[in-house]
């Protein structure tokens, strides 16, 4: 990592907030392409794409994983149909289904990064670096894309920057505190102590502004910090956008590695999906008018096996599902190709075939939502990806 781009004070980005509280209309984001907001939600542990977006007309689905499939659309507690193409959302995704009906949800199924093995870390590494192999670069595609935009401020709701946001473009982190907040008197004295120390002074001042922007976490902060519930984190992420503190926000949500007792309409996966759905609803509500300029990308490192395993769960697979939701999204569509579940169509006789390259989705969003040029995307953001065309008309 170089320090080519020196640290910018977050406060300057936000205007003159200082001690005085939140600024209503952030000057820095008033015009230009940075008017568009992007949230990237990384589901760590590998979301079961076939569990979230169910190809319910595939009879093989019931042969291979009957115990993991919720009732069909129309039945009691049934999946939520997506048009007439034979797909349905998991019943826990009611909010997402409403977005679909409003034309604000697009889905890329049977999708994957170029990674073809089955390690979480390696899969996440490739997903986030934007390369074609493990450990290909030490910065992330989103950071590289930001270097080709008009200075959009980025933030991650995390203790440390995820690979996706690491790199030369400036980005901050915010995480809920698991220890008591500093007391005001000590804080005041410290600010005084830092008067001749610009970097520390700016950092501590920015931290307070960032805290105000993110809002507090209610309830069990320790549990939230460990990722036990998504909604408070997603709420904080939305607050960062709504306050103008960040135009791009990354969230990391763990807990998707459903090897055991994955469940169908209820169970481990349903619980996680329900949390995600409520979190997205909170994002939408928080963003208000800004929602119409927002796209939320929900991605994961790979899919899971088509067959149920011996412990009523699924194992690491290949093709998965990615969701793009938001007021800016031209949705109500299933994107890309559908390989089906025929025995000959499965990848290595076990996984959903990775028919669609996730980079096409990312490129489409970056080009049409954030204004990154095709040339920069091919050469710099996703090196060597010229053959992967951006998906068009996503926003």
């Amino acid at each position: 990592m170089s320090s080519r781009h020196s640290r910018r004070s977050f406060i300057r980005m936000m205007g003159a907030a200082g001690w005085a509280g939140l600024i209503p209309a952030p000057l820095a984001f008033a015009r230009g392409p940075s008017e568009q907001k992007l949230m990237v939600v990384v589901l760590r542990g590998a979301l079961d794409g076939l569990g979230a977006v169910i190809p319910y007309r595939e009879s093989r689905l019931y042969d291979l994983r009957r115990k993991l499939v919720p009732p069909k659309p129309g039945e009691k507690g049934g999946a939520l149909p997506l048009g007439s193409e034979g797909f349905a959302l998991h019943p826990a995704l009611g909010g997402m289904h409403a977005s679909w009906r409003e034309g604000q949800l697009a889905i890329l199924h049977a999708a994957s990064s170029p990674y073809r093995e089955r390690s979480h870390f390696d899969g996440q590494d490739v997903l986030e670096s934007g390369g074609v192999e493990v450990l290909a670069s030490r910065d992330g595609w989103l950071n590289r894309a930001l270097q080709h935009t008009d200075g959009i401020e980025a933030a991650a709701v995390a203790g440390a920057l995820p690979l996706l946001l690491r790199g030369d473009a400036h980005a901050v982190t915010w995480a809920p505190s698991i220890l008591p907040e500093p007391d005001d008197d000590t804080l005041g004295r410290l600010m005084h102590m830092y008067e001749d120390d610009e970097p520390l002074h700016a950092a501590l001042q920015d931290a307070q502004a960032l805290d105000r922007a993110a809002g507090g976490i209610e309830g069990d902060a320790r549990g939230v910090a460990r990722g036990r519930s998504y909604e408070p984190l997603m709420q904080a992420g939305a607050n960062l956008v709504a306050s103008g503190a960040a135009g791009v926000v990354v969230l990391s949500l763990g807990g998707w590695d459903t090897h055991r007792n994955q469940g169908a309409q209820g169970g481990a996966l349903a619980a996680r999906l329900g949390q995600l759905d409520r979190g997205l609803a909170a994002v939408r509500e928080t963003l208000g008018d800004m929602w119409s300029r927002t796209a939320v990308l929900v991605v994961t490192e790979f899919g899971r096996t088509v067959r149920v395993n011996g412990s009523l769960g699924t194992d690491h697979g290949t093709g998965g599902a990615a969701l793009l939701v938001g007021g800016a999204v031209k949705g109500g569509r299933i994107l890309g190709d559908w390989p089906g579940l025929a025995p000959s169509a499965l990848f290595e006789n076990r996984d959903l075939y990775p028919a669609n390259d996730l980079r096409g989705l990312f490129k489409g969003v970056l080009r049409d939502h954030l204004g990154v040029s095709r040339g920069d995307l091919d050469r710099y953001v996703f090196p060597g990806s010229k053959a992967v065309a951006p998906l068009s008309g996503l926003v």
Partner: protein, 456 residues
């Protein structure tokens, strides 16, 4: 009052002064550091609960197969899986023990300069638990490959690091197969270039070291065969060996030198040549200068260290001594912003903490953003302020400092702590603020968060 020179020795070169340490270093700060270079045994870390890499890998293999079996038999009953695995040591427990032993050692060692060198070199040769295969052996790697060799010849350190099971697993060489090897011709397995690339880019000549993709590929071919005996190996499971059947035959050229086929020794010869190249000397000199002097180190310091490296065939004791003698390293103003771990260790040393509670330690690491053995990439933890001086990161330091001060405030006097940890290096403002604090607790928090304490 302890001189600024003394505080530079204990804080910049050491791990932060413990009570009484500055007094020891005060008479001759440089001599105090130089003496630590020759105390080879003093960085050894041994502890009843720590296993060698071989035992750890064998235990891990056993754990994996037990888990597979239990999962298969349990039909989804998680309690049954837990029962079946109770009594087996999990890899995460192994690494937790390593973290605790390492932290205890750091807060108590009386050769802190040597320990800083251990940490510098462990970070240079990063292996990370972010890849699961490394979890059981990350701690053993540092103890076995790094600790005994931080003041010997660079070649010995390089060789030990690259042929340790942790590195062969972390950078995939254990799986790499030469396309024309016996195994390569039979199976659909291939060459993996990770280790070769990282040795060149991160461990020796550096990214500007003048190598090409052809050098990387040739070196990767030479490295094939160096692997780790897996769970189904007939014998010596968990140990490193050279597997001729995976080794790509033939002569290969790396950085202009031809290396004829001589089996496993072929790779060792490349490492030997790389270890004394001028590009390597300069790359190492730059990293050392960045670590001890400044994020953007002065060219004069890099030159001097590079010269010491070349003049001694990469003898790290000689290079470390040169570092201690460099006037650039004794600039009075501390400019290196401490990493979270440096901040934590220097805090615990400064407060004279002797016993660590593992659970608290873990929460601390997570909150401050730097858990040992889990660097984000093979490049290791960043060594510049930009990466650590973020708003939320500084606030998390403050929260931790405040919580810790509340716990020890009844037994530590801030004025004594200030004298012992910063001495003459504490500026007027800091002195005034600490003396004017409204409680011991607040005084301690202000010391820990003072600009002079946040840097070294």
């Amino acid at each position: 009052m302890h001189s600024i020179q003394t505080m530079i020795a204990t804080n910049r070169f050491g791990l932060g002064a413990r009570p009484g340490e500055a007094a020891e270093a005060n008479a001759d700060p440089r001599g105090w550091l130089l003496a630590q270079i020759d105390t080879a045994g003093s960085s050894r870390l041994e502890n009843d609960g720590l296993e060698g890499s071989e035992q750890s890998l064998v235990a891990w293999y056993a754990f994996q197969s037990a888990r597979r079996r239990a999962t298969k038999e349990s039909k989804g009953d998680e309690e049954a899986v837990r029962q079946a695995l109770s009594g087996l040591t999990t890899p995460r427990e192994l690494v937790a023990r390593e973290i605790a032993a390492r932290a205890s050692f750091a807060i108590s060692t009386n050769a802190p300069f040597r320990e800083r060198l251990v940490r510098f070199w462990a970070n240079h040769f990063t292996v990370s638990t972010t890849r699961n295969v490394v979890v059981p052996v990350a701690g053993a790697f540092e103890r076995e490959a790094i600790r005994p060799r931080v003041t010997g010849h660079f070649f010995e350190l390089l060789h030990a690091a690259e042929t340790h099971p942790a590195m062969l697993l972390y950078l995939d060489n254990a799986q790499s197969v030469g396309p024309n090897s016996t195994l390569g011709r039979r199976r659909d397995r291939g060459l993996n270039e990770n280790l070769a690339r990282e040795i060149l880019e991160l461990h020796t000549v550096g990214v500007d070291g003048g190598y090409t993709q052809n050098d990387v590929t040739a070196f990767a071919r030479i490295l094939t065969g160096w692997t780790v005996a897996g769970p189904r190996a007939p014998k010596s499971r968990g140990t490193v060996f050279f597997d001729e059947r995976r080794h790509e035959p033939g002569t290969h050229t790396v950085l202009g030198t031809r290396y004829p086929a001589v089996g496993g020794e072929q790779a060792v010869r490349v490492l030997r040549d790389l270890s004394v190249r001028p590009e390597t000397a300069r790359f190492i000199a730059t990293k050392l200068a960045r670590h001890f002097i400044a994020d953007q180190p002065p060219e004069s310091a890099i030159d001097a260290l590079g010269k010491a490296f070349m003049g001694s065939d990469g003898h790290l004791g000689t290079v470390s001594a040169e570092l201690v003698r460099l006037k650039e390293a004794w600039a009075e103003q501390p400019v290196k912003f401490k990493t979270p771990e440096e901040f934590q260790v220097s805090t615990l040393r400064g407060l004279g903490v002797e016993k660590l509670r593992l659970r608290e330690l873990r929460a601390t690491y997570a909150s401050l953003g730097q858990t040992p053995f889990s660097a984000p990439s093979p490049a290791g933890w960043p060594d510049h302020a930009d990466a650590w001086l973020g708003p939320d990161a500084v606030k998390k330091r403050l929260e931790w400092a405040q919580a810790l001060s509340a716990r020890v405030g009844n037994r530590v006097d801030p004025r004594v702590m200030l004298a012992e940890t910063l001495g003459a290096a504490a500026g007027q403002t800091t002195r005034r603020m600490v003396n004017g604090a409204d409680s011991r607790e607040q005084g301690l928090t202000l010391i820990l968060m003072a600009p002079e304490f946040q840097r070294r």
